[in-house]
Symmetry: C2
Subunit: 154 residues, 2 copies
């Protein structure tokens, strides 16, 4: 389902990048936030808030929902995590510095949510918004279907 060679490296890299970004922006990359982000990357696919909660519970005593949601809010606001609304789930952003230009191809079979960038789409969205005198704050584009691997297409 995923394309990183060594998964632990991939998580470590994401955490490292996050730390750098937070440093640069004077944001606190606290322990809770780090652990939540780590779990999001560990799942390497959309993960639900309460699944994060369950996994944290095994490590830290008595983490409660607000703690997880706050961390997810922080990570989402700062471009480190995406919320996938159609799944009520969260996924690590693979290029936080270009965080606003992404969309997702979500396979309903294997559950992968592939993050993509596409300037044609970004352009078309920008144009149609300005034509409607609409000022964009946030764009959610979630494409659900079946991926090539699951369909056996090559």
């Amino acid at each position: 389902m995923h394309n990183c060679t060594t998964h632990s490296d991939c998580i470590a890299e994401a955490l490292h990048r996050a730390e750098e970004i937070c440093d640069k922006r004077d944001l606190r990359f606290t322990d809770v936030r780090r652990k939540v982000l780590e779990l999001v990357w560990q799942s390497h696919g959309p993960i639900k808030a309460y699944d994060i909660l369950d996994q944290l519970d095994q490590r830290i005593a008595a983490i409660k929902p607000p703690t997880v949601y706050r961390a997810l809010d922080f990570l989402t606001e700062n471009g480190l995590v995406h919320k996938i609304n159609s799944l009520n789930a969260f996924v690590g952003c693979s290029h936080p510095l270009r965080h606003r230009e992404c969309y997702f191809l979500i396979c309903s079979d294997c559950g992968e949510a592939k993050e993509c960038c596409n300037l044609d789409i970004v352009d078309a969205v920008a144009k149609t918004s300005s034509r409607n005198r609409f000022e964009i704050k946030h764009v959610t584009l979630e494409i659900t279907g079946e991926c090539g691997d699951c369909r056996g297409v090559h």
Copy 2:
């Protein structure tokens, strides 16, 4: 916030169109479904399932959540209603026959969710999907921001 001249006409028209479509497709446009669709159109903006429930409660004794959700599922599956995932709310589809090519401009100020069609976007989405060997089942495109009216732009 909306552009129909006579709101009751606009609701009546939507219901009439829905009835025709159901007839044509041999679907049952039952009393519950009609009433739910009517409330969706009456709100003339995204409405939440439990708000529909509350309003139905005043008319029919003891409607329960599953009834509303089933009706919404039916209406959504058959292109008469859109679910807006980023709001957990539902809105009437203004062109059920071209239901799959829509997206929304959602004003976070006035709450309007303007349904739009744009071939450039549809094309760009189709192309990027096929390039990724991905077979589309459903596309959610929700653009959140501020509309021209609310920004005072003309």
